[in-house]
């Protein structure tokens, strides 16, 4: 079952990669504000002009 070594190695590699990504994103303040992003994504910047609102509802 040597292939286990391989799978565990790659699984760990991926997991550690994500752990590092998590720590970096945490340190960079990605999770300092856990509310505004959820609201901000609702605002679209599509053509501020004419028919922007009318097209919305389907």
């Amino acid at each position: 079952m040597e292939v286990m070594v391989l799978l565990i190695f790659f699984s760990l590699l991926i997991a550690i990669g994500f752990l590092i990504a998590f720590i970096i994103s945490l340190k960079r303040g990605q999770y300092d504000d856990l509310y505004t992003p959820s609201v901000r994504m609702l605002f679209d910047d599509r053509d501020k002009g004419k028919d922007a609102d009318k097209t919305g509802e389907s």
Partner: protein, 709 residues
């Protein structure tokens, strides 16, 4: 910060949307055809290309990689631009991504129908196409990370994390599972054998579910559900927590596909524990989605988009409850090899992936085309008919699975199996198969309505190919004020990209170099009497793989009394050391075949393959008449033997030179035994090779016990 003006690329989103719709309809149509053959096997009309075992991989691959795959690209290319406040990194990469992916799917349809397959479920594509997948995937990753790096919004919304997890993980999964030695342009053998191949395959298989059908779609849920409901996600904090929990746990759950098999016990337990743990993060996502709709259920009543999304999220909750349940060893003893698995999968695909895709399409297409949906009523109708189809599909499948599994395990008062003939356990569930096909047709009908509705919407509106948008440039920590800002950003960001690409390249190179060495070394036989296949048997095995026999027949007898009484001695891991690839299967539509060897005479197999119902009245196996007409070129076998030698199968040196005459000898023996039974067949026909393989199956350790006495 200056406000920058830029344009979103809507054309690529539209292209992927059309591909999603078209492939969805095609894949579902093939599903209905396959489902119909489950109770009308002769519907294959004796044509290999439309036989169940050839179109089953077309159905699964078309819906996973074409319907859901294009759906992922559609959603990512649309939402990522908006979330990053930036156009996709490169239009050209997007085009390569699009056409490359369609080419892959087209080649999948052509190869699978013609029996060109690696024989590993959900990874059936042969090596040249595998390489193409890797390239297209890197192109997608490049385009995605490029966009993320030039974003104008410093916070990465949670959906982006889900997309990243998808892109990063699918790459290594695909590559590790697809390591194979090419024999010819369209034939290869995997590096791993038997139990190791099984483990790698299901490590991949499960994570394909996790990182192809789940994480990207959760990302899409986190974007489109709040958008469609026009309210923020219930808890942003929960979304972050459940994302990180999900991806750390998911990757370890694969072995739950191999419970009670000859996989080492501790590996099974590991897979089981992680699978049960998965319930928490999965339901975190499900609840977060549903609770977003709290106080908005009046909107759900009026809006088909929200209806689709709400059912999708609910189906996700059902599937992720069913999943950990199935991963419990004792439950799996009942559920495995039955239609329970099929039901489970379809809750996920019809409910979660299908309905989420429909919801997104109904929301997105009118917006892309600056118009309203052509018919809201038709979308409503699609919703209800689709929901009915899901219930109509899933309930009979669960029901049939229980009936059949209990019949398999039922012993009579005398201590013998109550239903020793496998077919007896098939007849009661045939009505369920009919229900399933009808429900599948309803779902397909809904898909066609959806396509019609959306194409009419496209015709009545007009797309804005390049949608104008503006956003302030991302604030940078500039050490040299006054320098040209744009150039500075390029300089700062390129190394990140390069490091990433280098890392991918290095790990691929390293894997290719290291893996063969220790995998080959480990293929040492552990049971002395287990010998490599003869060349004819190897060819027969390739026929078995090409015909897709493993979709309905397992080769793995679990150590239960009900199974040893029915099939014989339970399977040992040492018996599979020369099996490149493993053929354990995952479903018993027909009986297990691991101990089929020397159970029936050659003539029985010949007649059975020609017309199964002639030997087993009422059999639902399709006829394979072409096997007694198609030839095998014995000259093509030596390269296969050489490939096997490279993989560590101990054929003697120089054996490949003797191969054609060895094959001729064994083939003539079988042809003679068939002639004795009144069947005339040339020795070089496929059926002869297949019979030689079937007669060999599972007999190696029988020899051992006989000589040991």
């Amino acid at each position: 910060m200056p406000v920058e003006t830029f344009e979103y690329d809507n054309r690529i989103v539209r292209d992927f949307a059309i591909a999603t719709i078209v492939w969805g309809a095609v894949g579902m149509l093939i599903g209905v055809i396959a489902a119909t053959q489950m109770f009308l096997p002769k519907l294959n009309l004796g044509i290999p290309q439309i036989t169940f075992s050839h179109i089953r991989p077309v159905h699964t691959n078309a819906l996973i990689f074409a319907f859901v795959g294009n759906g992922i690209f559609m959603g990512v290319y649309h939402s990522l631009q908006r979330l990053c406040k930036a156009r996709m990194y490169s239009d050209l990469l997007g085009k390569i991504n699009f056409w490359g992916w369609q080419l892959i799917i087209l080649s999948a349809v052509l190869t699978f129908t013609n029996g060109i397959t690696t024989g590993k479920e959900y990874a059936e594509l042969e090596w040249p196409i595998d390489i193409l997948i890797a390239i297209v995937w890197v192109v997608f990753a490049w385009n995605m990370f490029g966009t993320i790096l030039k974003r104008r919004e410093s916070h990465m919304y949670v959906a982006i994390w889900f997309y990243i997890a998808t892109v990063v993980t699918i790459g290594p999964l695909h590559i590790i599972n697809s390591l194979e030695i090419p024999v010819s342009f369209l034939k290869s053998y995997p590096l791993y054998a038997g139990v190791q191949d099984a483990l790698v395959q299901w490590w991949y298989g499960h994570n394909a579910v996790a990182f192809f059908l789940t994480t990207p779609y959760l990302g899409l849920m986190y974007y489109y559900l709040p958008k469609a409901a026009n309210r923020p996600i219930f808890s942003y904090r929960l979304s972050i927590i459940h994302f990180w929990a999900l991806i750390f746990i998911y990757i370890w759950a694969g072995p739950h596909h191999l419970l009670n098999t000859s996989l080492p016990e501790w590996t099974q337990s590991l897979g089981m524990i992680f699978s049960i743990m998965l319930l928490a993060p999965s339901w975190g996502g499900m609840l977060n989605g549903l609770l977003t709709l709290r106080g908005a259920w009046d909107k759900v009543r009026q809006d088909p988009v929200l209806k689709f999304l709400a059912v999708a999220v609910t189906a996700y909750g059902v599937a992720t409850f069913d999943g950990p349940t199935l991963a419990v060893k004792s439950v799996n003893a009942i559920s495995h090899y039955t239609d329970w698995t099929i039901a489970h999968v379809h809750v996920g695909t019809l409910g979660w992936n299908g309905f989420l895709t429909f919801g997104i399409l109904y929301w997105l297409i009118p917006r892309l085309y600056n118009t309203k949906l052509y018919s809201k009523k038709m979308a409503e109708f699609h919703f209800w008919i689709g929901l009915l189809a899901i219930f109509g599909y899933v309930i009979p499948m669960y029901f049939g699975a229980f009936i059949q599994s209990l019949m398999w395990k039922k012993f009579g008062a005398g201590g013998f199996l109550l239903y020793p003939n496998f077919l007896e356990t098939v007849f009661p569930i045939i009505p369920m198969y009919i229900f399933r096909a009808v429900a599948g047709s309803l779902y397909l009908f809904g898909m066609i309505l959806c396509a019609y509705n959306l194409f009419r919407t496209m015709r009545q509106g007009k797309i804005t190919p390049d949608e104008k948008a503006e956003a302030p440039a991302l604030e940078k920590i500039t050490t040299e004020p006054g320098k040209h800002e744009f150039r500075h950003r390029i300089l700062e960001r390129k190394p990140v990209l390069f490091t990433l690409l280098a890392l991918i390249a290095v790990s691929i190179g390293g894997a290719v170099e290291i893996i063969p060495n220790f995998v080959i070394k480990s293929n040492v036989p552990t049971i002395a009497s287990v010998k490599p296949y003869t060349p004819l048997e190897l060819e027969g095995r390739d026929v078995y793989i090409a015909e897709g026999c493993y979709y309905c027949h397992s080769q793995m007898i679990r150590p239960f009394r009900s199974e040893t009484a029915r099939y014989g001695e339970y399977s040992k891991s040492g018996e599979f050391v020369y099996d490149h690839p493993f053929q354990w299967g995952s479903k018993r539509t027909g009986p297990d075949l691991h101990r089929i060897g020397s159970k029936y005479p050659d003539a029985w197999h010949y007649n059975h393959m020609h017309d199964p119902a002639s030997m087993s009245p009422g059999s639902i196996m399709p006829p394979f008449p072409w096997l007694s007409e198609d030839k095998i070129d014995f000259k093509g076998t030596p390269p296969k033997i050489r490939a096997m030698q490279k993989l560590g199968v101990p054929y003697p040196d120089g054996f490949d030179m003797k191969v054609p005459e060895e094959m001729q000898k064994q083939a003539e023996q079988i042809a003679k035994s068939l002639a004795d039974a009144g069947i005339t067949v040339e020795p070089d026909k496929k059926i002869v090779a297949l019979i030689s393989y079937l007669q060999r199956l599972g007999t190696d350790i029988k020899v051992k016990t006989e000589s040991g006495q």
